[in-house]
């Protein structure tokens, strides 16, 4: 058999397997059950408008709060990790290693229950606030490492040029290094943001009041009350509605920033 014939035969087999698998699944699947349980339009209609005006809105709000908080705390940690003062470096390294090593769920749980019990102190914003603090604390550890990598990726000559012009270390960091570092880390930072959108679903562990529910919690509650899986599908679509434009927007920003590279 010629090699080209053999290759064509092999590809033919691959296509055949693909078609057979699709057909078997199509025949064996209980389409009625799938349609009534996952794509039930009446059930979907019952979740509106709350699933958008409460749940999706809360998901976005929680994400924005956690991301901004994580950015601020992460930036402080990154600068501490690059500090010439040794104890600052220790502290930042310890923090980052600790919170990257713990499950976010455990940290959120800690802020929502353990700290209030231990110190008789309730974080601002009630249980959601406590959960958000946990989310910020965890995301800051990841964001700090991303920012540190970005700062270190700015060429040394940039700092030398700024310093040789007499710009002091603080202004060099603020107007020369950080703007370039954030351009470099736009892709990994978007990744952090998308992960955070999904991690807001962990806030349920803090205990959310009816109006505080985010997408996953809302969908889970609807699932139990309506005895139907369609709310999960609606929630999934809404997650994609939030994340897909975001990744597109960042791709656009990246192209725009290339001009200034």
């Amino acid at each position: 058999m010629k090699p080209s014939t053999r290759r064509r035969l092999f590809q033919g087999v691959l296509y055949a397997v693909f078609v057979i698998v699709i057909l078997v699944v199509a025949f064996l699947a209980d389409w009625d059950a799938i349609r009534t349980n996952f794509f039930n339009l009446e059930v979907a209609a019952a979740t509106f408008p709350e699933i958008v005006v409460i749940a999706a809105k809360n998901t976005v709000i929680y994400t924005v709060i956690a991301f901004i908080g994580g950015l601020i705390l992460g930036l402080i940690l990154a600068l501490m990790k690059l500090s010439p003062v040794l104890p600052y470096r220790w502290l930042a390294t310890g923090y980052i290693e600790l919170f990257r090593g713990l499950p976010a769920l455990l940290v959120i749980f800690g802020f929502a229950y353990a700290i209030p019990i231990a110190f008789q102190w309730r974080p601002p914003g009630g249980s959601v606030g406590a959960g958000l603090i946990g989310l910020i604390v965890v995301s800051a550890a990841y964001i700090a490492e991303t920012i540190r990598a970005g700062i270190e990726a700015v060429p040394k000559g940039q700092v030398e040029a700024a310093r040789s012009l007499g710009i002091n270390p603080t202004w060099t960091m603020v107007s020369v290094v950080l703007p370039q570092a954030f351009r470099i880390i736009t892709p990994p930072l978007t990744n952090e943001l998308v992960i955070l959108i999904k991690d807001t679903s962990l806030l349920f562990i803090a205990g959310l009041a009816l109006g505080e529910r985010e997408l996953t919690t809302f969908a889970r509650d609807s699932l139990t009350s309506l005895a139907n899986a369609t709310p999960l599908v609606v929630a999934s679509l809404l997650y994609l509605v939030i994340t897909l434009p975001l990744t597109q927007l960042v791709a656009k920003l990246e192209r725009h920033n290339k001009r200034g590279r």
């Binding site: 030398e160 040029a161 700024a162 310093r163 012009l165 007499g166 370039q180 001009r259």
Partner: protein, 256 residues
């Protein structure tokens, strides 16, 4: 402009602009500078030549303390730059520096590159900074490029912007660290032309270079370095035309 900045500095003209004494610099166990005595007088153009690894760039970078000298002293306009009490940022506004790799700020426009340090280090207002920047851009022949980003310019244009950026601080002297070494051959001329114009205006200049033609034509003095020491120095026609040391002759025979 140059005469204005000279007049405003409270330094007598007899004092050397740069005076380096017994300067040693080592990186770990690697001794790069082994006791350098070197000076640049006010208004003088000194070209430093030598093989790569001879320490000439390190010497230049010690003048504005981008490199920390190991021992020895570096005086700039009579002020000890290695003294921890010296306001280094303020001194650096008086010492312009141009790098081999240009080191323009890629996230800022040409105008942004020229105004940033004026505003942050010299505390000039925005309007004044822009005015000074435009004057210096015109001087290097790039007035029409003020809104371009560095990545949109050729290497030669970037280096001229870098020179304009340094000049916008109204420095008393300029340090050039192999300013044409990263350029395509056909772009070298424009940059050298700007530097010649500066020299004609009486700017104090220390130029580390491989451009022997520039050293011969523009330099008041040529310093040949090898192995971390100054081997010989003198008028360009003497050092380049009639070198006294074997090492100088051997180097020049390779580059000329």
């Amino acid at each position: 402009m140059t005469s204005l900045s000279k007049g405003s500095s409270a330094v007598s003209t007899t004092e050397p602009a740069i005076e380096v004494r017994a300067l040693c610099k080592s990186f770990g166990s690697n001794d790069v500078l082994k006791g350098i005595d070197f000076h640049v007088d006010q208004g003088e153009v000194v070209c430093v030549i030598g093989p790569s690894g001879s320490g000439k760039s390190t010497l230049l970078r010690c003048v504005n303390r981008l490199e920390e000298p190991t021992t020895g002293s570096v005086m700039v306009e009579g002020i000890d730059i290695t003294d921890p009490e010296t306001d280094l940022d303020k001194m650096r506004t008086r010492i312009g520096m141009v790098f081999q790799q240009f080191n323009l700020f890629p996230h800022l426009t040409v105008l942004g590159n020229l105004t940033l340090a004026q505003q942050r280090a010299k505390k000039r207002g925005k309007a004044e900074a822009i005015e000074v920047a435009r004057r210096n851009l015109a001087k290097v022949g790039l007035a029409e490029k003020e809104n371009a980003f560095p990545a949109q310019l050729s290497g030669g244009q970037q280096q001229r912007v870098a020179i304009a950026r340094a000049l916008s601080m109204d420095p008393d002297m300029m340090l050039f660290d192999e300013p044409t070494s990263a350029l395509d051959p056909e772009l070298v001329g424009d940059v050298l032309e700007v530097m010649k114009q500066l020299a004609r205006e009486g700017m104090t200049m220390m130029v580390v270079t491989h451009e022997m033609g520039f050293a011969r034509e523009v330099g008041d003095r040529v310093v040949f370095m090898d192995g971390g020491v100054v081997v010989e120095q003198g008028k360009p026609e003497d050092v380049l035309g009639n070198p006294q040391h074997e090492r100088t002759r051997s180097f020049l025979s390779k580059v000329l």
